[in-house]
Symmetry: C2
């Protein structure tokens, strides 16, 4: 389910990887929807709102494709997909509250419509239901993996909150995007192979496939923050930098221009100066920093694609290849 604002080109590649699981994604969404059935009508409305806001459902798609390729039971993949997407949704609900964001994917966030208390509890409710769904896969190792990933994600957010703004540090950046994004892609892909009749080597290959496309996904997100069509991305260009968050394009630019006064100002609170940061964003856009960052994302995708080499040819393998390529080709 894509939103109308996308480029035709991107639409095509999305369809390519979505088509083998298009019907199954509907089952995942239905499974998500019924989580609020036995609750208060306001909570049901909130979940409907969150579901209607859509999103690419890229994580459940990843799980379905990997699991189908390896012969996992559909029921477990649908349960896993719903658990992963609800966990993802829960983190977005709390993130938007924390950041005070009023829009996501062009729709009002929950905190824009509800009180902070109701938003906190709705996030908690989604965490709880995600954990319940994960338990319903009846796989203890998967359950452990799920709770560890939740801990990784939250710990990453806390670390980001406590880390001083304007910090230019590669290692810190990679850790952050792993916790924020790659860990859940990695978990999804690994978990889908764990509920399949796959051997350890295959599980490890699929874990790494998820990790690599997850890293690429977040790097591309961070590039789009500089290069994206503002209307499509839905936030001002360079919004990360304006919040003191130094991502890969800015790191490449800083490495190439260590004497740039705006770069030098960053760790000392320079990111709070809107005028200077607008200039820095322009300079980063005009430099080759975003290309360098894109090269790095492409290397991750290449490593992901190499992991598919040992898999048998099938529609799902082809879709996974397209999914990996889409991650660096996408415009939003």
């Amino acid at each position: 389910m894509r939103r109308g604002s996308l480029h035709g080109e991107t639409d095509l590649s999305t369809v390519t990887f979505l088509s083998p699981v298009q019907e199954e994604i509907k089952l995942v969404e239905e499974r998500m929807r019924i989580q609020a059935d036995d609750t208060h009508s306001d909570l049901r409305a909130a979940l409907e709102h969150l579901l209607a806001a859509g999103g690419k459902r890229i994580r459940p798609t990843l799980g379905l494709l990997v699991g189908n390729m390896l012969g996992a039971p559909l029921e477990k993949l649908v349960t896993l997909g719903a658990a992963v997407e609800l966990l993802h949704t829960a983190t977005l609900v709390h993130d938007d509250l924390i950041d005070g964001s009023l829009l996501r994917r062009g729709m009002a966030t929950l905190n824009a419509r509800w009180s902070p208390p109701a938003t906190v509890l709705t996030g908690d409710f989604l965490f709880a239901r995600a954990a319940k769904l994960a338990a319903e896969t009846d796989n203890l190792a998967l359950m452990k993996l799920f709770s560890e990933t939740l801990a990784t994600i939250v710990n990453g957010e806390l670390t980001q909150m406590f880390t001083s703004r304007g910090l230019i540090n590669r290692d810190n950046y990679y850790k952050r995007i792993y916790a924020k994004t790659a860990s859940l892609f990695e978990m999804t892909s690994r978990a889908a192979s764990m509920v399949s009749p796959a051997n350890e080597a295959t599980i490890e290959a699929m874990r790494d496939f998820g990790y690599q496309i997850g890293m690429a996904f977040q790097i591309v997100d961070d590039i789009l923050d500089f290069t994206g069509d503002q209307a499509t991305v839905g936030k001002p260009l360079g919004s990360d930098l304006l919040n003191g968050l130094v991502t890969l394009p800015a790191i490449y630019y800083a490495e190439g221009n260590p004497e740039d006064e705006d770069v030098l100002s960053l760790p000392n609170g320079g990111w709070t100066n809107n005028e200077n940061m607008t200039r820095l964003v322009d300079n980063i856009r005009a430099s080759n920093a975003t290309q360098k960052a894109m090269l790095e994302a492409e290397q991750h995708v290449d490593r992901a694609l190499a992991r598919l080499d040992s898999m048998e040819s099938c529609a799902e393998r082809e879709a996974l290849e397209n999914l990996a390529k889409y991650i660096v080709d996408r415009k939003v």
Copy 2:
């Protein structure tokens, strides 16, 4: 670990049920403490603060006593105890944030010291670690039960939030205190017997034991809100009513005094009138409503004690009897 402000009498009965597991509770606290070891120093400090705030550790004590009585491995009981207490702590952290409470057990709440975002994330972190610990019991049924209980607790909080204030309704009250308190007592006692070599009948008996003392615990809490020593309880008398929350003593009073103008005003926002509510609190205190509520709590304890009849005599059974009795005898 009791706080100084308690009555000697209460101290004695606490010691009676704590003594068989006093050393094991320290293991639970240590297991809780290390959950933040690999995280940011500020988060470690927050967890230390939450642990130092103490509390009676009544839930882990319940789990340890039931499990020891039934021959469960200590390691699993310590893990379960830490999981349950962290889950409990996580709900308190988010509750205090939502209610804007600045003090709990005489110490500053996390939200009194930290920003709302940091408090939201710390609660999330504690949820994540609680789930991780629950998974470490290596028991899938327990893991499911744990996530269901988390969902019950959060759903209860959401329902309370969406329910109109000033509502006088017994059924609503029982559902609320089950979700808020009894569900976690029930889960703890049931889970401790599930990791023991116990048969289904014993597990069911212990589940009900936990349920009954959990219901009694919350009813007594709600009575203490009217009758407690203000300094010891740590909040103004009748604070529930002043927040539009009608608990069992108020329900009994309303049933006995249906024409009382303050009672009649409740569903129509009368609870927002401080002067009238102070009068109502005084009237409830002067009536036999709190005694009637206490009788109901005692009936729950009696049912709990009856569940112990079929257990073999041992130090843990005796301690569980004392624990059940303490719940209605306590002053805080």
